[in-house]
């Protein structure tokens, strides 16, 4: 049986292989931690957890112009998959999808409790979630990438860098 911290370590290792940087923090220190890893201009989508909030400099409800100008986008992940280092980004009315997609750097916030060990568990969750809500989500692993131009390049259309902030 994997313990909670094994799961975190496994996630950290797999995500690390894709060049994802990780910072572990508490709910209280979250705003400060986010502030220390963003580059402005920044845009965000509201975090869906009661005890977690974004810091002042991160405005939500962006306009297309703000989205276009932002260097960093901050949004939440509902789930993460340890084996693959993936995060599950739900498409919500709050604009999480464009916020995580347009800026060069994506800061993804997730709760350590929401890291599941494998795809099987993740898809059980997604199946249930989608049956209830008809929702949409992206299973995102590392930054966007392409090899179409002759060698691997990060940031084809989506972010070039991903930074995960994990709330313990």
């Amino acid at each position: 049986m994997m313990t909670r911290s094994d799961t975190y370590d496994r996630f950290a290792e797999s995500a690390g292989e894709y060049g994802v940087e990780l910072t572990r923090t508490t709910a209280e220190s979250l705003p400060g931690t986010i502030e220390s890893v963003i580059t402005t201009p920044v845009v965000g989508a509201p975090l869906p957890w009661d005890d977690c909030s974004l810091p002042e400099p991160v405005p939500t409800d962006p306009s297309p112009a703000e989205l276009d100008a932002a260097v960093t986008g901050v949004s939440a992940a509902s789930l993460a998959v340890a084996d693959y280092g993936s995060v599950v980004l739900e498409a919500t009315p709050g604009g999480g999808e464009p916020v995580s997609l347009f800026p060069d750097e994506h800061v993804v916030v997730l709760r350590e409790d929401d890291i599941v060990p494998d795809m099987e568990t993740a898809f059980e969750w997604l199946d249930e979630q989608f049956r209830d809500t008809g929702g949409s989500a992206i299973v995102a692993t590392g930054p966007s990438a392409t090899a179409d131009m002759g060698s691997l390049v990060k940031g084809a259309h989506g972010p070039k860098e991903v930074h995960a902030v994990v709330v313990t």
Partner: protein, 735 residues
């Protein structure tokens, strides 16, 4: 095929080898290596493949019901489903949606189904500007070229080619050079197009009926932008993409990237349940927060039949519908690695499975253009994550092409062909290769005159002109005394109290030409305490099968069973020297024979070195064989079908037990593949495929080069100038 069309085909292949061959080879081989590494890390690989296969089997079985369920769900969600009979029907619908939305521009993420219906051309005629947003697709759109690979469409272009194209077409301030510069340039250009788009079009890798969720497998993020930015989304997908639930996506998500490009997972697996709950991003109104208004999205799913529902009814083509378009079969294919999809492909699809797709969607004519490029080596079978027997589909389609009559055969020499299946059918070249056994009998009976004739220049010319046997190939030499005759005639040397008894299957090559390896096999087995008989038996039917002559192959199979059954009844094991013949017994015969005959033969047949391995494992002593004398090194090339059956390791283990130091080749196939490399239209391709093998064998710098299959020995003989022996000849105690 007439000699002119053979010459034209050869010229086309040579041209592609010269212009696109290197880029295709580098990229596909990279993907293929990635696949091996990535699946090796996956503990439950086989389990996931079985699961994936089971889901597709079930989904295609229940397809009409699942389509109804999906339609209902999507309509409940607020989207529209249109079922299009064919390409024209689908295009009209898409154009209507665009017209209703007054759309000037549609941005599109990569989709093979949309290539299939040629929607770009249609919309273009209707005045809608279509922009491909996948970087590779966009390169081709700029270059006005067709994709050469189902996953990496611009695989045939090098970085330099793309840089030249962009610099010429867009004339940037600073010439673009690196992959990074090219990517960022494309990103910027495409972002500007996406911002102005009215409609986004995607394909769908999978559609879950229960929730109406579609999965898009991508790495660039362009599919996400295509769906998220404009408020109207049209998805086009073949009807076969429907599976029951979101949970069923899981094995595919774990397999698709690994199988194709060798990535454990692609950057993005989008699971959209459209119309999605994400605000559209209206760049025409740059200052209003996107979250301000109502989310008012429109979604259209165009489900395309275009021949698929008939494929579902077709027992042999049905499996094609299980295909998840991962491209593993292309990347693992030795011929594809050399020429890519511009030679090995049809109107839309390319690679091994393309024959099934093109036959089902476009028709036999299109499939006939490239079907011959599948040599039946079977390396794609284990690569395919849903376990499709791709070579069988190719064989069936070839058989159907044969039935539709002549592709230009030459009546003048018609009388020379042995055993014509029936007069209307395959071309002369196909029939000659398909009836090789008859030629071999004749050749052996008339040796050495036949051998001398075969080497004479006028005969070489005649063979090339009429039959398309390339004159640069050295023809096999027939032996006056066959293996069966030798075995009958020799003094009784059977071990007095044999541990085991075998019937050594005298395949056509061993019996009529490579008699020495047969004798070596008999001596080696006997030295290990086995009683050996060499019964007279017909060829397995492999040559006619590979020419698509299924009835002839079936008749051979029945003859083989008739000859071997008495031996099986007396408790003998069947030992096979030619790996492709064992593959016939083990797998192809399942399609040709009654289940019981097939099982009995398959269960008791062994490849020669697999059998020797078993004998050594069970107490046999390597000292009975010819063991290494000090530091002897062997470079070993296993046969493609032998590798597919996981039988390479046995030969390696036997050599090691006998004290040899072994290196193995890791190319997928030698490039000869039965009669393929003899055909004049494919000679250059066959040599190109063989080159990496020759390189590896040279680099090994071994004391002995050995190979298991006849075609491999022929090919290596031509490549290295020395014909390698079969492993058993090195181990022959009589050596």
């Amino acid at each position: 095929m007439s000699s002119e069309s053979r010459a034209a085909k050869a010229a086309q292949i040579r041209h592609l080898l010269d212009t696109e061959g290197d880029a295709v080879a580098t990229n596909t081989r990279g993907f293929n290596r990635g696949r091996y590494d990535s699946v090796a890390d996956l503990e439950e690989y086989q389990g996931l493949k079985d699961e994936a296969r089971a889901i597709k089997e079930d989904a295609i079985e229940r397809l009409p019901e699942l389509i109804d369920e999906l339609t209902e769900t999507i309509e409940e969600n607020g989207g529209t489903v249109y079922i299009a009979d064919d390409a024209a029907d689908a295009n009209e619908y898409v154009a209507e949606v665009c017209a209703e939305r007054d759309a000037d521009r549609l941005v599109k993420s990569k989709s093979m189904t949309s290539e299939e219906i040629e929607v770009n051309e249609h919309l273009d005629r209707e005045g809608v500007d279509v922009v491909e947003t996948d970087l590779g697709e966009w390169v081709l759109q700029v270059a006005e070229e067709a994709p050469s690979h189902i996953v990496a469409p611009a695989i045939h272009k090098s970085r330099q080619d793309i840089a030249d194209l962009f610099n010429e077409r867009f004339d940037p301030d600073e010439p673009l050079e690196t992959a990074e510069e090219l990517t960022m340039f494309a990103r910027e250009k495409l972002l500007a197009r996406i911002k102005e788009a009215d409609v986004g079009m995607t394909g769908a890798n999978f559609l879950a009926a229960e929730t109406g969720t579609m999965a898009l497998v991508t790495s660039e993020g362009n599919a996400r932008k295509t769906v998220t930015v404009p408020d109207t989304h049209i998805a086009v997908a073949g009807v076969e993409k429907v599976i029951p639930t979101v949970e069923d996506l899981r094995p595919f998500v774990e397999l698709i990237g690994r199988s194709g490009t060798g990535q454990d997972i692609t950057s993005y697996i989008s699971l959209f349940t459209p119309p999605i709950d994400s605000p559209a991003v209206d760049f025409d109104d740059p200052d209003t927060p996107i979250t301000d208004g109502e989310i008012d999205r429109e979604f259209h799913l165009v489900l395309i039949d275009n021949g698929r529902l008939s494929m579902r009814e077709d027992d042999d083509l049905r499996e094609t519908l299980y295909c998840i378009r991962c491209s593993a079969c292309s990347n693992t294919c030795a011929n594809f690695q050399s020429v890519g999809g511009h030679a090995f492909g049809g109107e839309t699809y390319s690679g091994g499975i393309a024959t099934g797709w093109e036959a089902g969607i476009e028709g036999l004519d299109t499939a006939a253009e490239f079907n011959d490029l599948c040599t039946g080596c079977s390396r794609c079978v284990e690569a395919c994550p849903v376990g499709i027997d791709i070579p069988w589909i190719n064989t069936v389609v070839r058989d159907r092409i044969n039935e539709t009559g002549d592709d230009g055969f030459d009546f003048l020499v018609d009388g020379l062909t042995p055993d014509a299946e029936d007069e209307s059918s395959p071309t002369l070249q196909k029939r000659v290769f398909g009836n090789f056994e008859t030629l071999a009998k004749l050749g052996s009976a008339t040796a050495p005159v036949s051998n001398w004739l075969g080497r004479s220049r006028p005969v070489g010319w005649l063979l090339e002109e009429s039959l398309g046997v390339d004159r640069r190939r050295e023809l096999p030499a027939f032996r006056r005394e066959t293996l069966v005759e030798w075995a009958d005639r020799r003094d009784e040397t059977t071990p007095a109290d044999p541990e085991r008894r075998v019937a050594l299957y005298p395949d056509v090559y061993t019996n009529y030409m490579l008699v020495e390896r047969g004798k070596a096999a008999v001596r080696a087995l006997e030295a290990l305490g086995v009683a050996v008989e060499v019964p007279a038996a017909p060829g397995t039917g492999r040559p006619p099968l590979s020419q698509g002559m299924i009835d002839t192959a079936r008749a051979k199979a029945e003859g083989v069973v008739e000859a071997l059954e008495p031996h099986l009844e007396q408790g003998r094991d069947v030992v096979v020297i030619e790996p492709s013949d064992l593959a016939m017994f083990a797998t192809d015969y399942e399609r040709l024979l009654e289940p019981e005959s097939h099982r009995r033969l398959a269960d008791h047949s062994y490849e020669l070195l697999e059998y020797v391995y078993g004998l050594l494992e069970n107490g046999g002593s390597p000292d009975a064989l010819s063991v290494a004398d000090g530091e002897e090194r062997v470079a070993y090339h296993s046969h493609c079908q032998q590798r597919t059956m996981s039988l390479e390791a046995h030969t390696v283990a036997v050599f090691e037990e006998c004290g040899y130091d072994v290196t193995t080749s890791d190319v997928e196939c030698c490039g000869m593949a039965g009669s393929f490399g003899y055909k004049t239209q494919y000679y250059d391709l066959s040599m190109d495929v063989g080159e990496p093998l020759a390189g590896q064998l040279r680099d090994a710098d071994a004391d002995h080069v050995v190979a298991s299959g006849t075609s491999c020995t022929d090919q290596i003989g031509d490549l290295l100038g020395v014909e390698p022996p079969h492993p058993i000849e090195l181990l022959d105690p009589g050596r």
